[in-house]
């Protein structure tokens, strides 16, 4: 019947809106620099005003590097970024290093560093950063919120439009309301030590499909670039 068909398509649309967490159309996004990658994500880029989780492996800064790139993309030309971490992780993961941040296009006067002693303080500080309208993006390392806490962060981010990136050096718990969950590890670089490559896996994406790419950072364009051969394969698998 025609009426039920209309109802069904309307329902589908509503469902899609719910699944993508506010909808691809309503949620603004930041392009990551590579058109294929942006097209793959349901928001045509990384969704703003939401929580994204990234995990890596200990002793490898690839996930921090990828997150720095995302931070730079989110902050854009004049946005401000807040970088939060735990004091006890100083030696373990190293301190963010200004001269190294420069290649990702993060000038020191737009990046504030926050150091907390306790994980509870860190979570509080992330939420505080997400609540005001002062920031573009908040990057927190060493925080693994439970479902309630991640929902709080998600709500705060949605209300303010600030993007939250939660980075951990180890696997994170799967149950979370984050919009996306990524795993980033190192990949051998073909073009010399100074052109780092990462194996980037999109493990979970609300309203989208998982994927996997080899990526590079383009110093000149200040954006991500998918290394072609593998990118097409990932897209072929996904489509």
């Amino acid at each position: 019947m025609p009426t039920s068909a209309i109802n069904l398509s309307a329902l589908r649309r509503r469902l899609q809106v719910l699944e993508t967490g506010g909808g691809a159309a309503t949620r603004s996004s930041v392009p990551l620099g590579d058109p294929m990658l942006d097209f793959f994500l349901p928001w045509r880029g990384l969704a703003r005003g939401g929580v994204h989780q990234l995990e890596g492996v200990p002793g490898d800064a690839s996930v921090q590097a990828f997150a720095t790139g995302l931070t730079s993309r989110c902050a854009g030309a004049d946005g401000r970024a807040l970088w939060l971490r735990l004091r006890r992780d100083r030696q373990e993961t190293g301190e963010p290093y200004g001269p190294g941040l420069a290649r990702y296009g993060l000038p020191p006067d737009r990046l504030m560093l926050v150091e907390a002693r306790a994980p509870s303080d860190l979570l509080w500080a992330v939420e505080e950063g997400l609540r005001g309208g002062a920031l573009s993006v908040a990057l927190a390392e060493g925080v693994s919120p439970d479902v309630t806490a991640s929902r709080r962060l998600q709500l705060a981010a949605e209300a303010s439009g600030v993007t939250a990136l939660l980075v951990s050096s180890g696997p994170v718990r799967a149950r979370s309301v984050a919009l996306t969950r990524w795993r980033v590890t190192a990949a051998p670089s073909a073009r010399g030590v100074h052109r780092p490559r990462w194996q980037v896996e999109l493990l979970h994406c609300r309203g989208g499909k998982p994927g996997s790419w080899i990526m590079e950072w383009d110093d000149a364009a200040l954006g991500f670039a998918v290394v072609p051969a593998l990118a097409s394969r990932a897209l072929a698998q996904a489509v």
């Binding site: 100083r90 190293g94 963010p96 190294g100 500080a125 505080e128 190192a186 670089s189 100074h194």
Partner: protein
């Protein structure tokens, strides 16, 4: 009270009962016991006394912002301009005396035109308020010791028959000065107000200050909130009129049992925002122990800076963004500490760990470039970690290295970049570093350095310094 002194234990302080039996400070303990066999003796604790006096001084802050310690057992309050808040000098002094007596303290109080006259009136006179302009007549019958003369001088004066202050007042000054130096003349001047005696307050008085005393002690968080709002409103009016914004704000809370608790907040930029300041205070208010109730509160802004009147909504979005940011920084600093919210700033040094410094989060940017010309790691280990390295030839880049118990096989290297010690800063003997960019077979990228060179007496050592 007794304390060790020359020739054994001696009495340092007595109560009224013991004094009645003829026991005076300075008496050896054996003599005191002979006078009064059942004398109760305690050891004196000057440190605890000093602490107690300091607490008492803080408590006295409710009467005047200018409170100074006076010797080991006295407090000096400058109540100029404060008395009317309490209904007059007599009422202020009576209130102070009544409350302190209520704490179980024995005290002598006096209020006079000058600190020296007040001291004399409290220590040698009957105490109470010495009305303006009568110091000369009133103090004349007091013994010269009330002038706080240097040791032995009172006795020297007494030998000349000068026992009372009045005896000195009538004397010509020149012979007096010739005989005793200027100490006597100077003390007389201070008592009579002919010379000013500056007092050194414990806390420098805050330029902006509001206080509130409660008829009935308050004891709920809601009451405190309302009182704080009331105080803050007053303080903000003062600040507004002065065209200033607060950078620090302290709240002192006086509990019924004589305790004073002080909590403070700070702001990164001068602020006159009621809501923001209240929010900053809200967390700290939890710390206040209400005890049996609160009878007074003082709100001070010890540090304020120029803040022109707000031009509402003319400067557009960037100005409000800056204000939002300043508020965020304040909130973070309030909970995490001042040092916990910072940003990076370049320093002219080619030693990697010195090339960057931390500055306050809202410090104006210098727009200096980073020194390094070669790629630098994203993460720098605060202290470089020693690693075990194997290489084909000693001077070669590493083939494998072991870091944090994991063996890394090197796939590509680049370098070295040689960084010499900064001889003008480093200790002699600091060794040069050869930095290598290293990628292991899994693609992990590290920044390693060799400290020292082969052929030196000390073997070189390898360190892990950064991650890409």
């Amino acid at each position: 009270m007794i304390a060790p002194a020359q020739g054994g234990l001696r009495v340092t302080a007595v109560d009224a009962l013991a004094a009645g039996e003829g026991i005076v400070p300075g008496l050896p303990i054996a003599d005191a016991r002979a006078l009064l066999p059942y004398l109760a003796v305690r050891e004196a604790d000057p440190c605890a006394d000093a602490e107690a006096l300091a607490r008492l001084a803080q408590w006295c802050g409710r009467y005047s912002p200018l409170v100074a310690l006076d010797g080991a057992d006295g407090l000096l309050l400058d109540v100029t301009g404060c008395a009317h808040l309490f209904g007059g000098e007599d009422i202020l002094l009576a209130d102070l005396t009544r409350r302190l007596t209520g704490f179980g303290l024995t005290l002598r109080t006096a209020l006079a035109d000058t600190p020296a006259a007040g001291w004399a009136w409290a220590h040698a006179g009957p105490g109470g308020v010495l009305p303006e302009g009568v110091a000369r007549q009133a103090l004349a019958p007091l013994p010269v010791a009330a002038l706080r003369l240097p040791d032995g001088m009172a006795a020297a004066l007494a030998r000349l028959g000068l026992r009372r202050i009045g005896d000195l007042l009538d004397l010509p000054r020149a012979p007096l000065t010739a005989r005793f130096g200027d100490a006597v003349a100077r003390r007389l001047d201070l008592v009579l107000g002919r010379a000013a005696e500056p007092i050194a307050p414990l806390h420098p008085p805050a330029p902006f200050r509001r206080q509130l005393a409660f008829a009935e002690p308050i004891g709920t968080r809601g009451d405190i909130d309302r009182a704080l709002e009331h105080l803050l409103d007053g303080l903000l009016v003062d600040l507004d009129q002065a065209g200033q914004g607060l950078r620090r704000c302290d709240l002192s809370v006086f509990t019924v049992d004589g305790g004073v608790q002080r909590i403070g907040i700070g702001t990164a930029r001068p602020s006159r925002e009621r809501r923001h300041v209240l929010r900053l205070f809200a967390e700290r208010l939890e710390e206040i122990d209400l005890g049996f109730g609160i009878e007074a509160m003082i709100l001070e802004a010890p540090v304020a800076e120029i803040l022109p009147a707000q031009q509402a909504r003319l400067e557009g979005r960037s100005a409000t963004g800056e204000a939002d940011l300043a508020r965020l920084v304040d909130r973070l600093q309030q909970r995490l500490g001042r040092q916990a919210v910072v940003r990076l700033e370049p320093v002219d040094s080619h030693i990697p760990e010195r090339a960057v410094t931390l500055v306050p989060a809202l410090a104006p940017p210098s727009h200096r470039p980073w020194m390094a010309e070669q790629p630098r790691p994203l993460r720098l280990l605060p202290s470089p970690e020693l690693i075990e390295v194997t290489a084909m030839v000693p001077d070669d880049p590493p083939l494998t290295f072991r870091w944090r118990t994991v063996l890394h096989r090197v796939a590509q290297t680049e370098g070295p970049e040689r960084l010499s010690p900064e001889w003008w800063r480093d200790r002699p003997g600091t060794r040069l570093r050869d930095y290598y960019w290293v990628e292991d077979q899994e693609g992990r990228r590290y920044w390693l350095y060799r400290e020292g060179a082969y052929g030196e007496p000390r073997a070189p050592r390898w360190y892990m310094h950064g991650l890409f």
